[in-house]
């Protein structure tokens, strides 16, 4: 790094975490006001993220996991999105009440994001090196050649072969995995304290998925970033995440450490997800699947949102929303019968 990059503060960040706590999301609600009605995408989600920790947010399409990421980044289109309730605190500062201009300076140097589809996330008319260098030029006021040098170094860091020769290449000249590496390079360019990866490997094939995940893990350990990994793929997160939060219909239904969650899920939905992973020792058997469809977010069923699809549903499930409660040490579940699920 050149002098200009390290002058600001030892860590390079404007904000310092309090007791290692980077991000604190509390009772977050997000609604989309459309002509057909109000879609409640997130209904009271709370979680936190510490330095050097990785949290996986797991859920199927429409569970609100990407909306959560966009709410943290502040890139929701408002309107139609509305945040009627809740707070997102970064190092003790509430991002939701922060003035726009101040918040813009949080995006990039403090909190950064990687999107699912790297091809459409890169501007097709500029060389990739130019796009990475732009980060340094806008946020750190570097001159063109210094910024381009930094871009080459970053491309080398994310293991792009022959980075110096490829710095002038255009996004379409890279393969999917390479593009995602470039997207990662852009996201970590300014040394963010929090990195959100929104389905970073969904658009990639399986071998490349593993490489990207291990790269992310490596970078996270090297820079002690807080990593939020958003995915629908249980297999992807097992190695990387410390903790897992499972989302369903805009609510968190279970929070646990990775190993415990895999060993004994405490929510019927999580159990359903785990059972629906194809396994090598079950050849010839029908794959278990969760019946039914996720609820329409405009008409979330009363009581537990999962009750129409739940094998264990009883009367209380159709009337009372189960709170997220501690069912075992360090285990949280939003099921009236979590203990039964755990014991099963």
């Amino acid at each position: 790094m050149t002098d200009t990059t390290t002058k600001t503060k030892p860590s390079g960040h404007t904000y310092e975490p309090v007791d290692g706590r980077l991000l604190d999301v509390e009772d977050l609600h997000v609604e989309f006001h459309t002509e057909e009605g109000v879609a409640r995408a997130i209904n009271g989600v709370s979680f936190h993220l510490d330095q050097g920790e990785s949290l996986a947010i797991l859920g199927e399409s429409g569970s609100g996991k990407s909306v959560t990421a966009q709410a943290i980044m502040g890139i929701l289109d408002m309107p139609p999105a509305v945040i009627p309730q809740g707070s997102i605190r970064y190092c003790g500062q509430d991002l939701l009440t922060m003035p726009d201009e101040q918040r813009r300076h949080v995006r990039g140097p403090e909190i950064s994001i990687i999107f699912q589809d790297a091809l459409s996330s890169l501007n097709p008319v500029f060389p990739v090196g130019w796009q990475i260098a732009e980060m340094f030029r806008t946020h750190r006021g570097m001159n063109k050649s210094d910024a381009l040098d930094q871009a080459v170094r970053l491309m080398e860091r994310v293991q792009i072969p022959a980075a110096r020769d490829r710095v002038k290449a255009y996004p379409h000249q890279f393969s999917g995995g390479m593009r995602q590496r470039i997207m990662i390079a852009m996201a970590i360019a300014l040394d963010p304290a929090v990195l959100i990866a929104d389905e970073p490997t969904t658009a990639l094939d399986v071998t490349v998925q593993a490489q990207i995940m291990s790269l992310l893990q490596e970078l996270q350990e090297e820079r002690q970033m807080g990593l939020i990994l958003i995915t629908h793929d249980l297999g992807v997160v097992a190695d990387v995440a410390d903790r897992i939060a499972v989302m369903y219909a805009g609510r968190l239904v279970e929070k646990a450490n990775v190993d415990e969650l895999y060993a004994s899920p405490a929510h019927p939905y999580t159990r359903g997800l785990l059972e629906s992973i194809p396994r090598l020792d079950q050849k010839g058997q029908t794959l278990a699947a969760i019946g039914g469809l996720p609820p329409n977010l405009m008409r979330i069923p009363p009581g537990c949102a999962f009750n129409p699809r739940c094998r264990m549903a009883r009367d209380v499930c159709r009337t009372d929303v189960p709170p997220l409660r501690e069912v075992a040490p360090g285990r949280l579940s939003a099921c009236h019968f979590a203990e039964e699920v755990l014991d099963a």
Partner: protein, 312 residues
């Protein structure tokens, strides 16, 4: 693809001197691609040659003729083309060849300036409307609708007659014509730019840039405009020819450029009375006017083909 993944398995291995992933062709931007396409298009070369000649005429008319356009030999009035005056002479005994050469300047100036201004004004307003959306977009769109309701020539005639007595110098008159054409020409480009910005906006890279902390101004300048301006450039090139024709129309109607300014429209207007007896007087300025307009429209076509991958 297998090739790719094998290399990625050992990303730091030294044998990777050759970068992977379809780089048999050298790196090319959209612009470079378009330039290559243009270089192979005969349409482009013909129009470019014609335009170069006309632009040269506009800058240095003395390269093409030594005869002054205002040198009147009245006794040779209406004489036919000869070795002395290649295109013949008009009512005033002016050399038509010389006047056609000198007339290029007004047309080219009007065409280039009007195009520049309409692109700047229309592009800016269209981008503003699309980027902000909401009531700003609503107001701008209604304003463009209002301009569309006024017929182009009628509007320009009204404007020119309202300002008939001001700005009467050579450049003053050209400025007036440019202004009139710009006022009634920007809305179509604004609409075009608005719609192409709207198609660029929902792209992930705009979200990504925003998520990585770029300011709105930077998003517009570095990411939206370069991706959205293609269609506008194409239409503007074609319009350039149309503006030259519009200038000639206004001059022909007697409210655009007026004598002593030499312009093709003025010449056509002057010679219309001799249409049946001395058609050469109207033939040459019309021919040059048509050629110029044609050249710019051909250039526009070539540029469109180059920028639009679907037309290949």
């Amino acid at each position: 693809m297998t090739d790719t993944s094998v290399r990625q398995d050992s990303p730091t291995a030294p044998q990777q001197s050759a970068p992977e992933g379809g780089d048999a062709a050298p790196a090319r931007s959209l612009g470079a691609d378009a330039r290559r396409q243009l270089a192979r298009s005969p349409l482009f070369w013909v129009s470019a040659a014609l335009i170069s000649v006309f632009v040269l005429m506009a800058i240095w008319p003395s390269l093409f003729t030594t005869v002054s356009p205002n040198e009147s030999i009245l006794r040779e009035s209406r004489s036919l083309p000869s070795s002395d005056a290649w295109f013949g002479r008009d009512f005033q005994g002016y050399d038509i060849y010389s006047r056609v050469i000198y007339g290029a300047r007004a047309s080219i100036l009007v065409g280039i300036f009007t195009t520049t201004f309409t692109v700047l004004v229309g592009g800016m307003i269209g981008t503003l409307a699309a980027y902000n959306g909401g009531w700003i977009d609503g107001i701008i769109s209604r304003i463009t609708d209002m301009f569309f309701a006024v017929p182009f020539i009628l509007g320009a005639i009204l404007f020119m007659s309202a300002l008939a007595d001001s700005f009467t110098s050579y450049f003053g008159v050209i400025f007036k014509v440019v202004l009139a054409l710009t006022i009634f020409g920007w809305p179509s480009l604004a609409r075009l730019m608005r719609s192409s910005v709207l198609t660029v906006l929902p792209n992930d890279y705009i979200r990504a840039t925003k998520a990585l902390g770029a300011s709105p101004w930077r998003i517009i300048r570095s990411h939206i405009i370069p991706n959205a301006m293609g269609p506008m450039i194409v239409v503007a090139t074609i319009n350039l020819g149309a503006y030259i024709a519009a200038e000639a129309t206004l001059s022909f109607l007697g409210i655009g450029l007026t004598p002593p300014v030499v312009s093709w429209g003025v010449m056509i207007n002057d010679s219309i009375v001799g249409l049946r007896t001395t058609p050469h007087m109207i033939l040459f300025p019309s021919l040059f006017l048509s050629l110029t307009v044609l050249a710019f429209i051909m250039l526009g076509d070539a540029v469109r083909d180059a920028f639009d991958p679907k037309s290949r």
